[in-house]
Each structure stands twice: as structure tokens, then as C-alpha cells.
């Protein structure tokens, strides 16, 4: 077993620290709603200014003429203890802004991909992204009224998911439901991490 990539000698983490979980999925699927349902304050909003090509501004020359665009991210805070804070970030639109996604995904414990069974394909880009990056994720089917209920194994098959990836139903507006989704994700992320360590 190799602990060589640990930047710290050994033992417990140096606290205080912050960790993050992402909430992704298609347009209007309930990302901000879920962040708000479990966070201790209503969702906050922060912005990044990007050039039209979707990269961050790192050079100011000509910024007054360059086309810029603003990407908004919603996020919330859950204070676990005096020295441990969990942040939940709703990801911005899926088909652009990969620069911001990369920044958000860096160091994230894992991601919730919200799905709406009336437009399941909307979450494909999120799933592809997290699979490609190796970020642990699960799929939470947000149960909108009027949506036909599918069995979870049908959803799993339709999304062509690895059988290890948890799929569960949720109501993004409900705090208990959102909590359950997050707990399932952290447990899954822990398993993924252990499996990777064993494989090393």
C-alpha cells in the first residue's frame, strides 16, 4: 500500500478545512432548490468573468474590447463543526463553461447528478464529465409531479451507468430527502476512494 502521494506525514487532517460537493444536472432540474434545501442560509451566488471562449481572464490587455461573459454559481454552506465546513455548489450550464466546471470539480468529494425522468438525456453531459474525471457521483431522480415513475433499475439502464453508481429518488425541495442524497454520496465517495487505494 502506498501512502506516498500524501502531502502530509500521516494522521488526522490539518483542520480547519473546507470540502465541497457539486450538484449538477440539466437546466431547471432543481440544482439550486437542492442546495437551498440543506444549506444553513439561502443559496448565495458568486460570479466569474470569462472570455467568450470560456476561459478565465488572466490577461487584462484588451479586456475592454474582449467579449466577456459572466458565469453565476449558486452555493450554500453547511457548518459541520467549528473546523469543518461543507460547501455545496450548483454547477452552471452544462454545455459551456467547462473552465468553471474544472475549477469546481478540483478537490470535490463528489457530485450529485440530478435527473428529471421527463428529460433524462439532459443529464448525460454531467455524467460524461464526472465519469471522465473520475469524480465519484450518484444520480438522484428528482420526482416532479406529473412525471411518470420509473423503476430505479430502468433509470440505471437508460443512463448506461456502472452498477456501482448509486441511483435514488429524491425531492430536491425536501431537506430530509436532500440530506439522504448527500449522505449516500459521501458513503459512495468513501468506497470509491478505498477501492482506488487498494488498486494502487
Amino acid at each position: 500500500m502506498d501512502y506516498g502521494h500524501s502531502e502530509r506525514p500521516s494522521g488526522a487532517a490539518a483542520l480547519p478545512t473546507a470540502i465541497k460537493i457539486l450538484v449538477a444536472g440539466g437546466f431547471g432540474v432543481g440544482k439550486t432548490t437542492m442546495v437551498g434545501a440543506v444549506s444553513e442560509t439561502r443559496p448565495l451566488r458568486t460570479e466569474e468573468v470569462l472570455t467568450e471562449s470560456g476561459v478565465g481572464i488572466d490577461d487584462l490587455s484588451g479586456v475592454e474590447t474582449k467579449q466577456t461573459t459572466t458565469v453565476a454559481m449558486d452555493f450554500g454552506r453547511i457548518t459541520i463543526s467549528d473546523d469543518l465546513v461543507l460547501y455545496l455548489f450548483g454547477t452552471p450550464g452544462q454545455d459551456r463553461f467547462w473552465f468553471v466546471w474544472d475549477e469546481l470539480a478540483l478537490g470535490a468529494i463528489g457530485a450529485v447528478v440530478l435527473a428529471d425522468t421527463r428529460r433524462l438525456a439532459d443529464c448525460f453531459p454531467s455524467i460524461d464529465y464526472f465519469e471522465g474525471r473520475g469524480t465519484p457521483f450518484l444520480v438522484a431522480v428528482n420526482c416532479f409531479e406529473g412525471a411518470r415513475q420509473y423503476r430505479l433499475d430502468e433509470v440505471q439502464a437508460a443512463l448506461n451507468l456502472d452498477p456501482e453508481v448509486p441511483v435514488l429518488l429524491c425531492d430536491a425541495r425536501n431537506r430530509e430527502s436532500a440530506k439522504e442524497v448527500l449522505i449516500t454520496l459521501v458513503e459512495h465517495a468513501m468506497k470509491v476512494r478505498d477501492a482506488r487505494r487498494r488498486a494502487e
Binding site: I19, T46, G56, R77, L84, I183, M190
Partner: protein
């Protein structure tokens, strides 16, 4: 808000400047911090109760020191001050260079050999 200390090279920041341009006035036209990278969830704590105005320290710097009397993430500072994250990073670089704030970078959970953080998060969520 008025823009102070404008020098000739960023005169293009005028009263008609849009919301995208204004943040550059706050940083004096700088896009990069003098030091540090500042992850969105890096935690910032002020090292002092208050700071007397001095050259190179503007109202936004003072506002950050005020906010960070309680530990805040970079993202929270940006949200509360209503400034883009990039702008806040530049301001934080100035504050770090003067030892006015302390930064706690996020841990990579990969580097932590045990389950302590995961378990703390799970227990914390259950207790909500």
C-alpha cells in the same frame, strides 16, 4: 461606489463602464493576485480586528477584513461583497502580502490516509 486612485492606464473605466468592467477598477486594473491562487473554498480569517486605512488598501480590502472576523470561504466573500471571484482573489493577494488575513487551503481528501473527514461529514449531515 466611486472609483479611487485611477491612473492613466485605466482611464477607460469611466462612469459608463458596465458591471463587467467595474471590478477591474476595484483592483486598479489588475487581473492576478500578487500572491496565492485562492481556491473557491479556501478559508480566510482576518488576523486583526480592524485595519487603519493606508496606501494600497481600499474600502473593499477593509470590507474583507471585516467579513473575515468569522472564517469565510473565498466564494462567500465574493457573494457578500457582490464582486466577481477573480476580483476578490486580487484583493486577497494584497491582504496576504500584508499579513492581514490568513488562508487555509482546502485539503485533498486523497491525501488524508483515514476516513476521519468523510465520517465527520456523514455524522454532521445526519445531525442536521
Amino acid at each position: 461606489m466611486t472609483v479611487q486612485g485611477e491612473s492613466a492606464e485605466h482611464q477607460w473605466v469611466d462612469d459608463h463602464a458596465g458591471p463587467v468592467v467595474r471590478p477591474y477598477a476595484v483592483t486598479g486594473g489588475r487581473a492576478r493576485p500578487v500572491t496565492g491562487t485562492f481556491d473557491l473554498i479556501s478559508l480566510v480569517t482576518a488576523t486583526r480586528k480592524d485595519v487603519s486605512p493606508e496606501i494600497g488598501i481600499g474600502p473593499e480590502h477593509l470590507a474583507i477584513v471585516g467579513l473575515c472576523q468569522r472564517m469565510q470561504s473565498v466564494a462567500e466573500i465574493a457573494a457578500h461583497l457582490d464582486l466577481p471571484v477573480g476580483t476578490v482573489r486580487v484583493l486577497l493577494g494584497d491582504l496576504v502580502a500584508r499579513n492581514l488575513v490568513q488562508i487555509r487551503e482546502p485539503q485533498s481528501t486523497l491525501g488524508i490516509p483515514d476516513h476521519s473527514i468523510f465520517e465527520a461529514v456523514i455524522n454532521g449531515l445526519r445531525a442536521l
